[in-house]
Each structure stands twice: as structure tokens, then as C-alpha cells.
């Protein structure tokens, strides 16, 4: 049964955290300004967005063809392609490859897709430690915490909290809270682990169908470490991440960094095409993951969510995200994109049915989306699906709206209702509603009753004519 209140409950808890709100406000506004500057520099930004949208739509509509082309190209280049219907199947494939290498540790590049399938926990259960090497992911892993932003997952932690955590876990008591010092501590801790790692695990930002090339975009160099030094590299790729041709990167490598970090280009982008003798991993595995994506694909209006390139620009402009933070979405994919992607991947199960309501429908997310996903349209579409699922069940909101529809459909009923409204007056209705238990009070919490004017237009018209 779907739960349409889960987000509101979780958000209420997060809203009470003033530290979190201060961090979020500063962070989202800083990135917003950087993004705006980086985007305004390009005279053809709108053309790039349109190209990005069109390429993604084309891929999704011909996905079978491009999956096969990618598999063929990558196999020809010396890679192994695996297919996984769901999370369990993907995790089992990764565990099998790591075990075959007789390794009990793997270094890992930040990847939302592997978070989505709970890869780290699954590997831990198989006796394999997956070490997160992205700075923010390392912080979260050391503290058993979860990400709250797509790009800066530890956005809810400030420098003092990070210093205290590092003192407890990977550094000595003399460690200060200067970001430079904290980054150096992470470098020291991870370096020997990079240099001795046998297995690397990554996600991917893009896979090129034409050539079998995999692309990872990053900043810190941990991605290069994980994809270059180990003998074996495993990349988990959602099936929607494909681009038809190598040349398409000319569009996406402009859209992504400027939308994401607000940089002209991110420090490092790694592209590899199968195995190259004498350079990098000797064994290459790619896991193509469905895990609900084909279900999203079957919804003609909702499928545009699969065009997402995970830039997180929509989070940074969202008035709801800015206040509630990422944890309130209770999903790997927070913010506006999460509000349309998560419920679809989960088929509106449980609390995910509340996410389409986690929006004021202001539309700022669409304006910044580099691939022009019409997020408000999909939110409304999903609300419709949530409501449609309730048909045939007792639902007070639905009953109320049906009564309202009946009143509005008939002139006499409408005018009687207006007169009744004037008699009851706003304050008394409000007071009564606030005392009521359950659904009506919930409903009134986020809505204002307009003042009922002393005279309606129709009454005024009649009095003027006489």
C-alpha cells in the first residue's frame, strides 16, 4: 500500500536541524551562482540543451539496438559484458568477479548506481570490503551515514564535524579543521590502499555504443586511481547511460560540468575502450543494470526521467530541497529528479508515493535541467497515477473533491454553497478544521482558505440590474 505522507514526516524531522539548513542554504546558493556564470558564458547553451535532450530521447527509443551495439563493441575491445535484471543479480556478479580474483578488498569510485543496488552492503556480506574513495563518500562510510546530495554527498557535514570524525577514525588528535589539512589526511589514508588495490569498482557517466567506451567524470583523481591501477576493473552501468556515438560527448562534456559543479570542465575525465596492453587494468567487466529501468521506460510520459545525467542542478534550485535536505527523500536520488525517478523505479511502492508531492511545482528544476526533463509535468503525471491507484478505496480527499465537483457542476448548488460559506465565515471554518482529527487537518496545514467576500459577483450583478 502506498504511503503519501512519508516525505512530509521525514522532512519535518530534517527541518528541525538548523545546522543542516544553514549548510544547505550556503551550499545550494554558492553552486547556483557558479552554475549560472558557467552557463552564461556559452552562446549556444540552449542549443546544447536541446541536443542533449534529443540524443537522450533517441537512445531511449532505440535502446535495444544501442545495448547490443555497445555489447558487441566492448566485447571486441576485450571487455566482458554482464547483464543484471535487478540489484541482487548485479551484486552477485560483482561479488563473483572479486572472489575469482581472490581479493577481499576493492577500491570504489563514487557511484549512485552502486548505492542504488546496495552493492557495498552486499559485498560486505560476501566478505569483501568495498572502500569508498571519494572524499565525501569516505566521510559517510567512516560514519555509517548516507548521502544527502548527488554531487556533494556530505553537504550536511561541516568542517568541524569532519575533523572530529577523522580524529576518531583515520587521523591523530592533532588534526585541524582547515579543508586543506582534512583533504591531506584523506590522501594519506587512501594512497597506500590505491597503490596495492587489486580490484577497482566504478559506475559510469556515459557508455558509448559505437565504440564500447566508458566515461567517468570526476574531480579528485580517486576515479583515475580506481580505474587505472588495479588489475581488474568492474563498472556498473544503468542501461540508460548509453550514448550512440563518440561525437555525442561533445555535447554532454559541456552540459555536465557546467551544470554540476559550475566549472568549465571538471579536473579529470577518464575514457577507456576495452583493455589496452601495458596501460591500466588487464581485465574489464561491465554490468548492464535494469533494476526497474525498463519499467520506467514503458511509461511514455515518465520515461524522460531516464535522460538524467546526474548533474544535481535541479537540487540546487529547488525550494523544497533547500529546506528539507536530501535525507528527507529517503532515496539515493534526492531532489526534484529523485521525486520523479525514485517512485518510478520502485513502482510507487511504500513511501515513494509521497515523493511526487515533494514539490511546489515552481518549475525552476526544468529551467536548469541540461537535458530539458520536464520535471513538473512528470510530477503531476505521477500524482495522477497515485490517485488512480486509490480509486475504489475509501479516501477522504477524493470524496471531498468529488463533492466539490458536484457543487461546481450545478448553478443552484453552487450559489447555495456560496451563501453557506458567507454565513460560516473563514475564521470559524479554519478553527473547526484545526480541531478536526486526521485528514482534514492535514489538508488545511499546507493550504489557506481565501476570504469569503461579503457579496458575490452574481449577487452584485443582480443588485445592479435592479
Amino acid at each position: 500500500m502506498s504511503d503519501t505522507k512519508a516525505f512530509a514526516r521525514a522532512a519535518a524531522k530534517e527541518l528541525a536541524n538548523t545546522q543542516l539548513r544553514a549548510n544547505l542554504y550556503r551550499a545550494t546558493h554558492t553552486i547556483r551562482a557558479k552554475r549560472a556564470a558557467a552557463v552564461s558564458e556559452l552562446p549556444d547553451w540552449e542549443e546544447l540543451r536541446e541536443a542533449g535532450r534529443a540524443i537522450k530521447q533517441h537512445v531511449l527509443e532505440h535502446l535495444d539496438r544501442y545495448l547490443l551495439e555497445f555489447e558487441q563493441a566492448l566485447t571486441a575491445a576485450g571487455g566482458h559484458v554482464h547483464w543484471a535484471r535487478d540489484a541482487a543479480e548485479a551484486n552477485a556478479i560483482v561479488a563473483r568477479v572479486v572472489k575469482a580474483a581472490r581479493a577481499d578488498e576493492a577500491v570504489k569510485v563514487k557511484s549512485l548506481t552502486t548505492d542504488e543496488i546496495g552493492l557495498n552492503e552486499a559485498l560486505e556480506a560476501a566478505g569483501i570490503h568495498a572502500l569508498e574513495t571519494d572524499f565525501a563518500e569516505l566521510i559517510l562510510q567512516l560514519d555509517g551515514d548516507t548521502p544527502s546530495h548527488i554531487l556533494v554527498p556530505a553537504i550536511h557535514r561541516n568542517r568541524t564535524e569532519i575533523r572530529d570524525l577523522f580524529r576518531r577514525t583515520i587521523a591523530g588528535p592533532e588534526l585541524g579543521d582547515d579543508p586543506r589539512e582534512l583533504a591531506a589526511a584523506a590522501r594519506r589514508y587512501l594512497r597506500e590502499r590505491f597503490l596495492r588495490a587489486k580490484v577497482g569498482i566504478s559506475g559510469a557517466n556515459f557508455g558509448i555504443a559505437e565504440t564500447g567506451t566508458i566515461v567517468v567524470v570526476e574531480s579528485e583523481g580517486n576515479g583515475r586511481m580506481c580505474t587505472t591501477l588495479p588489475h581488474i576493473l568492474i563498472s556498473v552501468l544503468g542501461i540508460e547511460k548509453l550514448l550512440p556515438r563518440f561525437e555525442d560527448l561533445g555535447v554532454f562534456l559541456q552540459l555536465l560540468p557546467r551544470s554540476s559543479t559550475g566549472e568549465r570542465m571538471n579536473p579529470y575525465t577518464s575514457l577507456w575502450t576495452g583493455v589496452t596492453p601495458g596501460d591500466g587494468p588487464k581485465e574489464l567487466h561491465v554490468v548492464l543494470l535494469d533494476n526497474g529501468r525498463t519499467r520506467v521506460l514503458s511509461d511514455a510520459k515518465g520515461r524522460q526521467a531516464l535522460a538524467c545525467i546526474r548533474c544535481s542542478a535541479c537540487l540546487n534550485v529547488c525550494p523544497v530541497y533547500e529546506r528539507a535536505g536530501g535525507h528527507a527523500y529517503e532515496s539515493v536520488y534526492p531532489g526534484p529528479i529523485g521525486a520523479i525517478l525514485t517512485p518510478q523505479l520502485a513502482d510507487l511502492a511504500g513511501g515513494t508515493a509521497s515523493l511526487p508531492y515533494a514539490s511546489s511545482l515552481c518549475g525552476a528544476c526544468y529551467d536548469v535541467c541540461p537535458v530539458k526533463i520536464r520535471i513538473p509535468e512528470v510530477l503531476l503525471h505521477l500524482r495522477g497515477r497515485v490517485v488512480a491507484e486509490k480509486i475504489g478505496r475509501a479516501d477522504p480527499e477524493r470524496a471531498g473533491l468529488e463533492t466539490l465537483a458536484a457543487i461546481f457542476a450545478d448553478r443552484n448548488r453552487y450559489e447555495r454553497a456560496q451563501r453557506l460559506g458567507r454565513v460560516l465565515r473563514r475564521s470559524r471554518i479554519r478553527a473547526a478544521a484545526a480541531r478536526l482529527p486526521g485528514p482534514l487537518r492535514d489538508w488545511m496545514q499546507a493550504r489557506d482558505l481565501p476570504d469569503v467576500p461579503p457579496q458575490s459577483f452574481r449577487d452584485w450583478w443582480r443588485s445592479e440590474k435592479q
Binding site: T133, A136, R224, R264, L271
Partner: protein, 208 residues
């Protein structure tokens, strides 16, 4: 049914192909700036990432490299096998990368390479294994990367670079690394810190 066949069947079930083209929009594919402006634009954009930029005539690359090493106190410099001899410094130890192992790479103070090409608008260097760029580990493990960019290797736009790299990929399948400044993180309160896991210092020598 095998996972592969089942996923493909689900995809075919889910969506009916239309004849939408994949790339209709008229974004800039070719730059309009005169070629002589590209080196300056590239230098400005690389500097914005807090990399060090040195300009030098083509014949004086060695001297520029030597002074960069002196300033960084680098004494052992790794180079790819095919690096031009006239670029290699004489004032310090040069170690040729003939399959050095990881501890040996870790023992280097820095690395000197060329590049495949560079992008002016974004201040990006592209390394393409072999061809003067070195293999990936060589430009990753040492803490200092000195990269020589010849002025005629600079293109203006990302799509121009990608078009050329598409040919490299189709012809050779070599791994590519796009480098825009030294490694960095903004994970702590969005304060940018240069130098995390990749080389903490990037010196770009533009040879004109």
C-alpha cells in the same frame, strides 16, 4: 530466460521506436576565433584552475622544464619512452617509463609528458596513452605533472576535440584522460582544495 534476453525483451516491450533523429540542434561544432588567439585563451583558462602556465618558444622547452623542476624541487622526473629528446632536462635525473612498477612510479618526484591535443575554451589537456602522453599510471602517481602543449595542438571548442578523439578511439582504442587543472575537491563546505589524489601540481608549458 537469460538476463540479457529478458532485459532486451522488456526494452522492446516498453518502447516503440520512432524516427526521431539523435542530433538536430545547431550547437557550435567549429570555433570562430582566429588560431593565433587560441594559445592565450587556453593559457587564461588553465590558469583559472590554479595550474602554472609557462610560455616558451618551441626551441626552449627544455629550459622551461628545467626551471619548473627547480622551483618544485623535483630531482627525479619520469618521461614516456617516446618523449622528444630535446624536451628532456639535463639538470636532473630522467627516468624513462619502460613499464615501471607502482612503487617505482611512487618514487618519482614528477613526470614530463606531451599531450594529444588541448581545448582552449575549457583549458583542458587531453592525454592519449602513448604518443608522448605516457600511459595513465605515469601521469597519475607522481605528485607533479609537467605537460608540454604545442600551440598548434590547441583547438577552440570541446566538440572539435571530441571529433578528433573519436578518430583516435576508433583507430587505436587507446585510453584517454582529459585534464583540467590539478586534482581538486569541494566536498568540505564547498571550499575548493587543490590536490587530492592525482598530481597536486600541474605545470603547463605552452610551446609557440
Amino acid at each position: 530466460m537469460r538476463a540479457r534476453d529478458e532485459i532486451l525483451a522488456r526494452v522492446r516491450d516498453a518502447v516503440r521506436p520512432t524516427d526521431t533523429g539523435s542530433d538536430p540542434a545547431a550547437y557550435r561544432r567549429v570555433g570562430m576565433r582566429p588560431p593565433e588567439e587560441l594559445a592565450d585563451l587556453f593559457a587564461e583558462r588553465v590558469s583559472a584552475y590554479r595550474a602554472t602556465v609557462l610560455h616558451t618558444p618551441k626551441g626552449d622547452v627544455r629550459a622551461a622544464v628545467e626551471s619548473a623542476c627547480l622551483e618544485s624541487r623535483a630531482r627525479r622526473l619520469g618521461v614516456p619512452v617516446d618523449l622528444p629528446v630535446q624536451w628532456r632536462p639535463r639538470t636532473l635525473e630522467v627516468v624513462v617509463d619502460d613499464a615501471l612498477d607502482i612503487p617505482e612510479l611512487d618514487g618519482l618526484d614528477g613526470v614530463l609528458t606531451g599531450c594529444e591535443l588541448a581545448v582552449a575554451e575549457t583549458g583542458t589537456i587531453v592525454l592519449a596513452g602513448g604518443a608522448r602522453s605516457g600511459r595513465r599510471a605515469l601521469t597519475l602517481v607522481p605528485d607533479l605533472h609537467i605537460c608540454v602543449v604545442e600551440a598548434d595542438q590547441i583547438v577552440e571548442l570541446v566538440p572539435e576535440a571530441i571529433a578528433r578523439l573519436g578518430s583516435v578511439t576508433r583507430d587505436t582504442g587507446r585510453p584517454l584522460t582529459l585534464v583540467s587543472g590539478p586534482s581538486a575537491t569541494s566536498d568540505i563546505e564547498l571550499d575548493r582544495v587543490e590536490g587530492v589524489h592525482g598530481p597536486r601540481r600541474l605545470v603547463v608549458v605552452i610551446a609557440e
